[in-house]
């Protein structure tokens, strides 16, 4: 490789990106027209160049994360496998809270309404009929059924960390 080729190849990324001064660009093009190896390397540089679009919501997410000082991992958490796991854990927690709740009207998993199928379980979660269901959990916090899906995912993440 000649000194000229070396000089040209050092500047190919800038040529491909259109960031050279006109005179320098003309000098490079003049050389490339007569040098097959440098022309091939320019083709390779053009091939490797790509443009990555920033997701539209990323700036807001990053700004919020910077202010919070903690990354927002919701997307990662929201993968189908994790959501299924989270749903299982939430169901187990709610079931446990029902089973362990003292009182004459306690509903257990043997209750025919719950044992019959999934829709009844959902109904039970939406309108909890068991005694003490309105009592806040753990030191004055809201009951599980009062939390949104997002809050449940965050709670599970904190429990898991």
């Amino acid at each position: 490789m000649s000194d000229r080729c070396e000089w040209v190849r050092d500047r190919l990324p800038e040529l491909a990106a259109g960031r050279l001064e006109a005179a320098e660009e003309a000098a490079l093009r003049e050389h490339i027209e007569t040098c097959e190896a440098c022309a091939a390397e320019l083709a390779l540089v053009c091939l490797v160049r790509d443009e990555v679009a920033v997701p539209s919501d990323l700036e807001a997410r990053v700004r919020a994360a910077v202010l919070r000082g903690k990354p927002d991992r919701l997307r990662e958490w929201a993968s189908p496998g994790r959501l299924a796991m989270a749903a299982s854990v939430v169901l187990a927690l709610v079931t446990a809270s029902v089973v362990l709740q003292p009182g004459p009207e306690t509903i257990t998993t043997r209750d025919p309404g719950i044992a019959a199928g999934g829709s009844e379980v959902v109904d039970a979660l939406e309108a909890p009929p068991w005694p003490g269901a309105d009592e806040p959990l753990l030191g004055g916090g809201p009951a599980l059924y009062q939390l949104s899906t997002e809050e449940l995912v965050i709670l599970l993440e904190e429990l898991g960390s």
Partner: protein
Amino acid sequence: MTAAPDDEAALLTRARQGDREALDALLRRHLPDVYGLTRRLVRDPDLAADAAQEAMINAVRALASFRGDASFRSWLLRIAVNAARTVGRKRSRRREVDLELVRELPAGTKDPDGVTITRIEAERAVRMLERLPPKQRLAVTLRIQSGLSYAEVAEVMGGTEGAARVNYHLGIRKLRELLA
């Protein structure tokens, strides 16, 4: 994106003093470069976004320690490389394949230099880039895809300008062999 040095220095000073507007302006200015790099290194879009967030948070925490020996952009991209490495370990566990990185090009598109680029060729080149040794891959990525000079590549990689240049040219040679 390259900022006017004076403007950048003023923003940095204000951001260090806790000025949220200045911090926002720095974030807006450099996020495309940071995400562009993490996306190219990690490939999975969600993990790349996580890495970009991680990088920005770490940069803000370390802002007081930035002395200006390197350009702010190089300093930030170095933090982004480390964040991409951290999330990259997760990716290796997930083993996801993502072809979205390759820009959508209709077959036979002519670029301004008259080089015919097909989508398949571009896809293959990006895949082959992943097979380069790590330092060569990083040097080629920073030089061609992030548009850094050799001096800036050296700042990001933590070596000399000469080493950055050698790694870049070795990477290009290896890439040519892989694509042959």
